[in-house]
Symmetry: C2
Subunit: 176 residues, 2 copies
């Protein structure tokens, strides 16, 4: 009876956990399950700029990558890995040709930020213990309605970011 | 003799002033001559994001438009004209395809900020009296060496920004 109660507690603590370790090493199973961030970090829109980018193709967005003070300090000092509490975020807006600007320039050259995209906000939150299963970063994504993206879609975050493991899983470089 | 001294003072105070009002309304001439900003506003790299953009063509840059606290507050409140002391700036980096990102995405889609461009930094500083000749905004531009652009090139700033006089001469809209 004691054993059954323990398993139920583990499931409640880690939503989505597959309890394949019934009666076994439940602690290890807990670490291996990714934990996603479900809350937008407060004040992110006031954060400092890391860099900017344009993703063409299906995404077709223009984006600002921002960092909280801990992240910006680490970026500027070239410090890796990022310290606990660092958060790197990005805001993505639709990539829109600016008729107004083009008219003024006299040519088709200007692309600006339009409305929020379907993957409006994304954040990586550094907490080595809590997010041990995903390289010490908790991943999050929010739509234009500020609601979290469903967990199934979030499972591709970490595998993709492993391409830059040597930069502590962060793609974006600091722009001077 | 008093009259000649006065004209010389006016010339010294406003470089580039054509002293067509010798012996006449020197004050009016002073107001009509644009005054350009020659100093990079301290701390601009810490300012909050107004928006982002990509200028294709000859410029071929990707840019962040930032504002000091006065400018950001006015933007967020939708307040026009911008109050005294507002500064809107933009940083322009070369527009570079990211091989690293493309490799991870599996397609050619990612463009990031490279090195500073020849027109690296530009600012508009609101001071209705000092910059009365150019709509209340002082214009500035700095190259990748952080040196001010020569004044001849600066003369195109205000005529171009007059296209958006109804938005207090500021092209960039606040991105949500």
């Amino acid at each position: 009876m004691r054993r059954i109660v323990f398993v139920l507690v583990a499931i409640a603590a880690v939503p989505g956990l597959i309890a394949f370790n019934v009666g076994g090493i439940a602690h290890a199973a807990q670490e291996a399950a990714p934990v996603f961030v479900k809350k937008i970090p407060p004040g992110y829109r006031d954060w400092k700029v890391v860099s900017v980018a344009h993703e063409a193709g299906d995404l077709n967005d223009i984006r600002a990558v921002l960092g909280n003070d801990i992240a910006i300090k680490a970026y500027r000092e070239g410090k890796l890995p990022f310290p606990e509490g660092a958060i790197v975020g990005r805001i993505a807006w639709s990539y829109v040709a600016s008729e107004e600007n083009n008219k003024t320039f006299g040519r088709e050259q200007s692309f600006v930020a339009g409305s929020p995209t379907d993957a409006y906000l994304q954040f990586m939150v550094k907490d080595s213990k809590k997010y041990a299963a995903t390289g010490g970063w908790g991943y999050s994504s929010f739509g234009k309605d500020s609601q979290p993206t469903d967990e199934a879609a979030m499972k591709s975050c970490f595998p993709c970011h492993q391409a830059v493991k040597d930069r502590d899983f962060i793609f974006t470089r600091y722009a001077p």
